[in-house]
Symmetry: C2
Subunit: 367 residues, 2 copies
């Protein structure tokens, strides 16, 4: 616990001289600085960041609060945040809120230990967020809606993504398309259901309650649902799952049951987690741009930290990533006019993969 005082004593100078010398202030004579630096090294002096931050009134750190670090796509998000904060001279620190009130939640969010926060945790109450956010502590929330002047919204268009996924199945010739919801409470799941319903309705297909399954976002819940599907009287031809984990569970269940994907059942997931590329067959899914989400969140936060609080919600587009699990794709020529494949790329393993953006902005094929 050696402090500036100890260094000062050893170097035979005053505290402020040490402070200035160590930060290479030109006012300090070179010879003095050397003595100070030597003394500091001898004592193994380390500045106390807390004291410095307290004095400065800012920490230079922003916190990212995530409910459960184990999630499959947080790393990409964090990469995006990290990349951007580095440029801005901030440091990212990550806290896990799963521990409840007396962990990272309190320390990082409510006690001013960082300059702002990016929050990805549906379980933190809106009240808490509202009571925390302020001009001196802006908060960006991901994938939820909080109405507050200092809470900024960044999300991607789940509904459009779900619409694309469902439309893709419809255009591939499937008519009996099931939907597997995630946790009822989750906003995602509701939006994805909405997109699914909208696609059905726009193509004049009935939304049969028989084809609505309720899962819990876990692979196991998907597995169970897959079994139920396989044994159902009227098995759907295709299924759109509100996330990839459940889709993979379904895939596993029906495969073990002896069915072929996509011939007996086409499957589309949501999120584009890593494993979707490795399962057999590879899973068609909707990619959320996690990295970009992190970048945008950080942008919004830094804008607010810079004193500009006029920030509109950011909504990023999703991409449909077509892999083998949704089969029977029509050829491009047979696509209805209003559907525009905008990008095609090949997967690692060489098999063709089509990527469509939800915006469907251009009719041209860019490769």
């Amino acid at each position: 616990m050696t402090g500036l005082r100890d260094v000062a004593k050893r170097a035979g100078v005053s505290i402020s001289t040490v402070s200035l010398a160590l930060r290479e202030d030109p006012r300090i004579k070179a010879s003095t600085r050397q003595r100070v630096v030597a003394a500091a090294a001898d004592l193994g002096y380390r500045p106390n960041g807390l004291a410095r931050d307290l004095k400065a009134g800012r920490t230079g750190m922003i916190s990212v609060l995530i409910h459960d670090l184990g999630g499959p796509f947080y790393s990409e998000l964090l990469r995006g945040v990290q990349a951007r904060t580095l440029d801005l001279g901030y440091t990212t620190i990550v806290g896990c809120t799963a521990g409840g009130q007396d962990g990272a939640l309190t320390r990082l969010l409510t006690e001013n230990r960082t300059d702002g926060a990016i929050v990805l945790d549906a379980s933190i109450s809106e009240d808490l967020l509202s009571s925390i956010a302020s001009a001196s502590f802006p908060v960006v929330v991901l994938d939820r809606v909080v109405a507050h002047p200092y809470v900024y919204l960044v999300t991607c268009d789940h509904e459009a993504g779900a619409y694309m996924a469902t439309e893709h199945l419809i255009q591939s010739g499937y008519r009996h398309i099931a939907f597997v919801s995630g946790l009822e409470s989750s906003l995602h799941s509701r939006l994805r259901y909405k997109g699914y319903l909208r696609a059905l309705s726009e193509y004049d297909l009935a939304a049969d309650k028989e084809y609505l399954y309720h899962g819990t976002y876990t692979e196991d819940s998907g597995y169970e649902i897959g079994l139920r599907m396989a044994q159902a009287q009227h098995m759907p031809e295709a299924v759109f799952s509100a996330n990839d984990e459940m889709a993979i569970g379904i895939l596993r269940a029906v495969t073990e049951y002896g069915l072929k994907v996509p011939d007996d059942l086409a499957i589309v997931g949501f999120d584009d987690v890593l494993v979707t590329q490795y399962v057999t067959p590879p899973l068609t899914t909707v990619r959320q741009p996690m990295y970009e989400l992190g970048v945008e969140a950080t942008k919004a936060l830094s804008t607010a930290l810079g004193g500009n609080f006029d920030i509109r919600p950011v909504v990023l587009q999703t991409e449909l990533v077509i892999r083998a699990s949704s089969g029977r794709p029509r050829t491009r020529d047979s696509l209805p006019a209003h559907v525009s494949p905008v990008q095609l790329r090949s997967s690692k393993s060489g098999q063709a993969q089509g990527v469509y953006t939800a915006s469907g902005e251009g009719p041209g094929r860019r490769d």
Copy 2:
């Protein structure tokens, strides 16, 4: 930025009264406390953690420093740390050191913003770690060796794991077994190579340089190596890869090349990352107990934080997780006497999976 002073003014009491009242000190009359609490709520008062920590001389937080949060198994590690720190009343904060000197590395490691650190980053110099670690800032390093009284070592037995993996291949009847190294600089890779060599030598097999491949831990590097292997004059019968990513790259390459795994080439990886369960065929691999590693690291750190610095290095055992990629397993009865299957469990998909611990402690089968 409302502080205690503002609350005090509003409630018509002194600062110290507010401080005590908000922490429910019994010395403060209930009626006074109510006034104070009301005033604090009105003003949206939030305590300043920095000031509190500065005063207290401790932060109640420990940092976990990881080079690249995107890594495939950090989440398990963090779960382990998190679980344990919660019990201890500490808060875990995670920093990514990839940004270089002026990011989390400096802020969390060298400026006393937390009470101690767990470091998993081979690129942080031993000098820096040694100069940082002290009685008031203990450091636990994972998977490396640093000789310093306040640096504590937690690792798992990579060499034994590699030995097991190689032995497993030998006992499955393979004789020409290749090894794929990771980055030369990495301690893991060297230890895993050592275990591989030891197994070969103990079974009187020659270690042919022809069967030594150098990768970079990435799937792509594995893919390339896989192609080279498939086209080599003397193709190995089996390969042990220093990590799973490369093993998966190899699997992909040889599969695309038209070879069958494990019939034409058996593959064993290392780490047991999530995707190993999902590739076809599922990959035999060596599991590192990441969760337990996190728990042990935290235990060591908290012991040091408690003032007991007599902590010995912790070495955890690895497990061999046998899946379909290493084929042709002998039946149990035909195993040599000194190999003891200590545990058998079934995989999610129902296929049998044998788990052996590196310690090979008991001959009995426990299920």
